[in-house]
C-alpha cells in the first residue's frame, strides 16, 4: 500500500497486542470483511487481521473482479445471490466508492450440449432467486455489438444464458473499504507479519506464532488464499485443496464502450472492460498445482486465439500487462467454510476462482459463525465435513473460470 492510497482511505495501523478474541490470518477481502462484520454486526472488536504482505496483495488484488450468482447447484446460487445483493449496497454500507457497476454477463454456447446445460442453469437460477434467462444469438449481438456470431467460422454462437445482475467492482477498493470499515471499529490490521505456526493448547488452537512474536486468540480463522494447506497442517487438519496458478491479462485502452461481460464456458475464457477502458481477459487455470506467480507466453497464445475468434476487434489491441494469482481449488469445486473439527480453528478457503464475488457474504456469514458458534444456514452446505459424510457440492460447470 502506497502513500497515494493512504491519503484516500482512512487507515489506522497498530502495534500488535499479546492477545485478541479473534485472530484472522490473511488480510485479503475475506479476512477483512469477516473482521468488519464481526466488529460492526456482532460488537466483537478485539480482532487482529494478520497479513504477510500488504493488504490485498494476494488474490484479492489479482482476480478479475466479476460478481455474479449464476451457479449450477441451489446451495451455491443462494449463497452467491446473497453476496451479489450485499455488493449492491456495499457503497452505502461502507461509505466508500468501490466502483460497483452492474453490467450483465452472457455465457455463450456453441454446441447443443452446452445449450442444454445453459437452459438447465437458467431454470435452476430462477428457481433459487437469481435471474438468468436464455437469449438468442441476435439478442446477444444487440447486447454486445462487437461479437462475431460465427465465432470466426470456428465457434458459431447458438445462444447464451444471460445473467443481467452480474457486476464488477474495483478489487483494491473493496479491500480498502473493508479495511477502513474494520479499523473504524478498532480492529487491528498487522501488515508485513508472517504467521509461522499455530499455538496448540491440548487439542485446541489457542493462538498464532508470528514473525512479531506469539499472539494468543480465542478463535483463529484462516482466510488465507494460497497457503492454507500449510496453515491447516499446523493444526493437524487435512484439506481437500490443490493450489493452481491462474493467469489473466489486460490490453491497452479500447476507445468504444464494450457491452457487459462476455464469457464462454465452452472455450473457458471471458472478456470485460475495466473502468480505464482496457480489455480484461482471463482463461482457465493451469493443470498442475503450483505456487509460482510466473506468467507464461503459452497462456497468452491460447487465450488470444479463443477471444479473437469471438471478438475480432481485440486483434487491433496490444497486450499491456499479464499477471498470475494462485487459486485454492477444492476437490468438488465449491468453497469450504466453517469449523475444522479442531477447537478454536476455522477456515474459509477453496475460493479458487470464485472468491472475489463471495467476499461480502463469506465475511458476513463467517462473522456470524464466529460470534454465535452456530453454522448459519447459508454456510451449512459448505462445511469441511461434507467430504467425510459424502455430501459434496460438485459444481465444476459453474466455476467458469472466474
Amino acid at each position: 500500500m502506497n502513500d497515494f492510497v493512504e491519503r484516500r482511505v482512512a487507515l489506522e495501523w497498530h502495534e500488535p497486542r499479546r492477545s485478541y478474541d479473534v485472530v484472522i490470518i490473511g488480510g485479503g477481502g475475506h479476512g477483512l470483511a469477516t473482521a468488519y462484520y464481526l466488529a460492526d454486526r456482532h460488537r466483537i472488536a478485539s480482532v487482529a487481521v494478520i497479513e504477510a504482505g500488504y493488504i490485498g496483495s494476494g488474490n484479492s488484488g489479482r482476480n478479475t473482479t466479476i460478481i455474479r450468482a449464476n451457479y449450477g447447484i441451489p446451495e451455491a446460487v443462494r449463497f452467491y445471490q446473497h453476496s451479489l445483493e450485499l455488493y449492491q449496497t456495499l457503497e452505502e454500507e461502507l461509505d466508500c466508492w468501490v466502483m460497483h457497476e452492474t453490467k450483465g454477463i452472457m455465457w455463450l454456447a456453441h454446441t447443443e450440449t452446452h445449450m442444454r446445460a445453459e437452459r438447465a442453469r437458467s431454470l435452476l437460477n430462477l428457481a433459487c432467486g437469481a435471474e438468468t434467462v436464455m437469449i438468442t444469438p441476435q439478442e446477444a449481438k444487440e447486447l454486445c455489438p462487437q461479437l462475431d456470431l460465427s465465432g470466426g467460422g470456428r465457434y458459431p454462437v447458438l445462444g447464451a444464458s444471460y445473467h443481467p445482475a452480474a457486476a464488477t467492482a474495483r478489487h483494491d477498493r473493496v479491500v480498502w473499504a473493508y479495511a477502513q470499515g474494520a479499523m473504524r471499529h478498532g480492529v487491528h490490521v498487522l501488515q508485513h507479519t508472517k504467521v509461522t505456526g499455530l499455538i496448540r493448547d491440548g487439542t485446541r488452537v489457542a493462538g498464532v506464532e508470528t514473525s512479531a512474536g506469539p499472539i494468543a486468540a480465542g478463535v483463529v480463522l484462516s482466510a488465507v488464499g494460497g497457503r492454507v494447506s500449510m496453515i491447516a497442517a499446523h493444526a493437524g487438519v487435512r484439506l481437500p485443496i490443490r493450489t493452481h496458478p491462474l493467469q489473466a491479462f489486460v490490453t491497452n485502452g479500447y476507445e468504444h464502450p464494450f457491452g457487459g461481460i462476455v464469457s464462454d464456458t465452452e472455450l473457458l475464457c471471458y472478456v470485460s472492460q475495466t473502468e480505464r477502458g482496457q480489455m480484461l481477459i482471463g482463461a482457465e487455470y493451469d493443470e498442475q498445482p503450483s505456487y509460482s506467480l510466473r506468467s507464461s507466453f503459452s497462456f497468452l497464445q491460447s487465450s488470444a486465439v479463443k477471444v479473437t475468434h469471438l471478438l475480432p476487434f481485440l486483434r487491433d489491441l496490444r497486450i499491456l500487462r499479464q499477471w498470475t494469482g494462485i487459486c485454492d481449488i477444492s476437490t468438488d469445486s465449491s468453497p469450504i467454510m466453517g469449523e475444522t473439527g479442531v477447537d478454536g480453528f476455522l477456515v474459509t478457503t477453496g475460493w479458487g476462482t470464485w472468491g472475489f464475488k463471495a467476499i461480502p457474504a463469506g465475511g458476513e456469514q463467517m462473522a456470524q459463525l464466529i460470534a454465535t458458534g452456530r453454522t448459519p444456514a447459508l454456510l451449512e452446505p459448505f462445511r469441511l465435513d461434507r467430504f467425510a459424510s459424502d455430501h459434496t457440492m460438485a459444481d465444476p460447470g459453474s466455476t467458469g473460470t472466474h
Binding site: S229, R238, P240, R242, Q288, S290, Y291, S292
Partner: protein, 78 residues
C-alpha cells in the same frame, strides 16, 4: 512453461502430459480406518516445495512416470 523429461521420448512440453496426482502416503497420525479412507479419497498434501508426482505422457509414449517438482517455482528437480 514446464518441460518434463520422459525416459523414452526425451524433454517434452507439459502440454503433452496429464498429471495423475501427487504421490503420497496417508498421514500416520490418522488411525481410524474410516478417516484414512476419507483422506485417501479427498485430501491432498498440496505442498509448497518439492512434491513427488505421477505424470502420464498422454500425447507421447503413453507411459506413466514419477518425478519430483518444486511447486514454488514450477520446475522439475532431480
Amino acid at each position: 512453461m514446464l518441460w518434463i523429461s520422459c525416459p523414452i521420448c526425451g524433454r517434452r512440453p507439459v502440454e503433452e502430459y496429464r498429471l495423475g496426482g501427487e504421490l503420497r502416503g496417508i498421514a500416520a497420525w490418522l488411525t481410524d480406518p474410516a478417516q484414512r479412507d476419507v483422506d485417501y479419497v479427498w485430501m491432498y498434501d498440496n505442498l509448497e516445495g518439492v512434491t513427488t508426482e505421477r505424470w502420464f505422457h498422454s500425447a507421447g509414449c503413453r507411459r506413466w512416470l514419477t518425478l519430483r517438482r518444486d511447486t514454488t517455482t514450477d520446475t522439475v528437480v532431480d
